[in-house]
Subunit: 341 residues, 2 copies
């Protein structure tokens, strides 16, 4: 399977490391072999080679901050844009791992459409295109017999979407409700131990959970984008951001947290949706709720189903290797669906 | 897909009800259509019809206790054994839902082998054959290009095995650890609220969680059989019952429960295994453990993986519809793998 990567930050590098480290095992156990033939970035440059790039050299150059440090090879092209790489028509799938833009989803959205038009499967870790234009992308993919998958956009590699697609194939999923933002869950967990909000936020930033501008996390927008993707991907809702009632954790005081504890409850930033709409809201949960026990930066989601009742999945919500693994998982699903094994 | 059912108790009837109620939706959303052409039971008789049995009539006769009440139809045969139905060679899959025997796995084990020899896929809710002879059955299935699936044997329809098979396909699973017996979890949860052991057991029996002879549940053998199946199915362990150190909840007193609560802990009957061995043991868990929050008859399992860390799945551990749904889920997986959609 020949791949183009758009973006090569933490997630792209995490994925490339897994390919480098597990190539033999993936070939043996899954009959899976992939070559990264193109990588295009905003800050490090771009590389393209039909026969595949050298993964250790690619990772080393990225670590040093520039693809100019990647050694010359026969057939290597430098400086191509995503459009050039798609137009070359050699890739089987395009992997969109560039930074998320929840306002316009650009430039990723146009690149995704172009890749589908060119007959390439699409795998995203970038939430923008699937949060803002899921239905159109999915329709375009289906019309061409292609797959669009985005496991990495929600709960890193914790396999929410594959659980729904395959393992729950016979069930109808009625709603999704979960803890989808690790930063806010970490902050709330620290506040329960008595840490002030500002210190917990600083700590979350130091640990790499929160962005320098944490607004998207603490005001609930990151969780909103994720629950929107889940609703659209898991039960075909046609929701937009306007259908969600979104608030964050900034109104929750130390006194609120203490009150909840005294009442045998715990605050969690809960994102939930049905096909009709959804919300993101700091919510007092009784300790018996499976979501109440999910602490730190861990994420969780409860899917309400017709045949099986509630199914809860708990796992990592972030991480280089964990999110890179989601890309791999989507590519394996594409291979299974195409009967390529 | 033409099916033979061996056994037609709670699980078999739950599955038939789902087929009856969701036929149109399954056809539309999954391209799935199944006919039950044979049902053989120890107590109700046996029915076989190449063109498929009538599901409402079958369920009504079973509800009344005897297939003698099933109306005559052209091509209907009564009184065949499983061997006759397999020898007829018309079924695509055999579904083993007869009662579990964890001592010898018979007569189900011989029937399963015969079905595989005859080229039929195999789906089990009966734990015996897979707990005692997993490796041989799996090898026989693979050698013939067939599938053997047993989602229903552990955590009802909560999709533990499909999660591992497909959604975690790129990961190595290193261990499994969970709450796999609903009866004992229900008893422990009731004891935490102050109910004596004997009353909690009686209540579990009245609710249909526990057998009349509850030894298999409360001494840990049911959980042991399940963790053995998980270890063999999820990470290819070649374990037998002799590799497990098994105890139950009968030594846990009300005072032990109170001590644990005072220490911010909770007793759970934990079944765990690696490729090297395993155990079933009443264990004090800190409340922060995701398994500590799993109350009542709910089940849960935490899978330790190389790429994603710990993934926890929580869901129903029993139930007519929930276990019937596992059979459907396995048949859908067989259809996907065969590229039949």
């Amino acid at each position: 399977m020949k791949l183009i990567l758009v973006g090569f930050g933490v997630v792209g590098q995490g994925f490339a490391e897994i390919l480098r480290d597990k190539a033999a095992e993936l070939k043996r156990s899954q009959g899976f072999a992939a070559a990264i033939i193109g990588v295009v970035t905003a800050s490090k440059g771009a590389l393209y080679r039909s026969d595949g790039l050298d993964l250790p050299a690619l990772l080393e150059a990225a670590g040093d901050g520039s693809f100019a440090l990647y050694p010359d090879q026969p057939g290597l092209r430098r400086g191509w844009g995503a459009e050039d790489m798609i137009a070359a028509g050699e890739a089987d799938a395009l992997v969109e791992v560039s930074p998320t833009n929840l306002e316009t989803a650009q430039p990723a959205l146009d690149i995704c459409k172009r890749a589908l038009d060119a007959g390439m499967h699409l795998v995203l870790a970038n939430k923008g295109p699937v949060a803002l234009d899921y239905a159109n992308l999915q329709a375009k993919a289906r019309a061409k017999g292609l797959q669009m998958r985005c496991e990495a956009t929600v709960m890193a590699g914790t396999p929410t979407m594959q659980l729904a697609d395959e393992a729950l194939a016979g069930c109808e999923i009625l709603s999704a409700r979960g803890i989808l933002n690790g930063t806010t869950n970490y902050i709330l967990t620290q506040m329960e131990s008595g840490m002030p909000y500002e210190s917990a936020l600083t700590q979350a930033q130091e640990l790499g959970y929160a962005e320098t501008d944490p607004t998207g996390d603490v005001e609930g927008w990151d969780a909103a984008g994720k629950v929107l993707i889940l609703a659209n991907a898991l039960f075909g809702a046609a929701l937009t951001m306007d259908d969600l009632d979104v608030s964050g954790i900034t109104q929750i005081s130390a006194a609120d947290i203490a009150d909840a504890q005294a009442a045998g409850c715990r605050y969690k930033l809960i994102a939930g949706a049905t096909a009709e709409g959804g919300m993101v809201k700091a919510t007092r949960l009784p300790l018996a709720d499976p979501l109440a026990g999910v602490g730190g930066s861990t994420n969780a989601v409860t899917l309400e189903t017709d045949l099986l009742g509630d199914i809860t999945l708990i796992g990592a919500g972030a991480g280089k290797r964990e999110t890179g693994a989601a890309i791999l998982s989507d590519l394996l699903a594409i291979q299974r669906a195409a009967g390529l094994t």
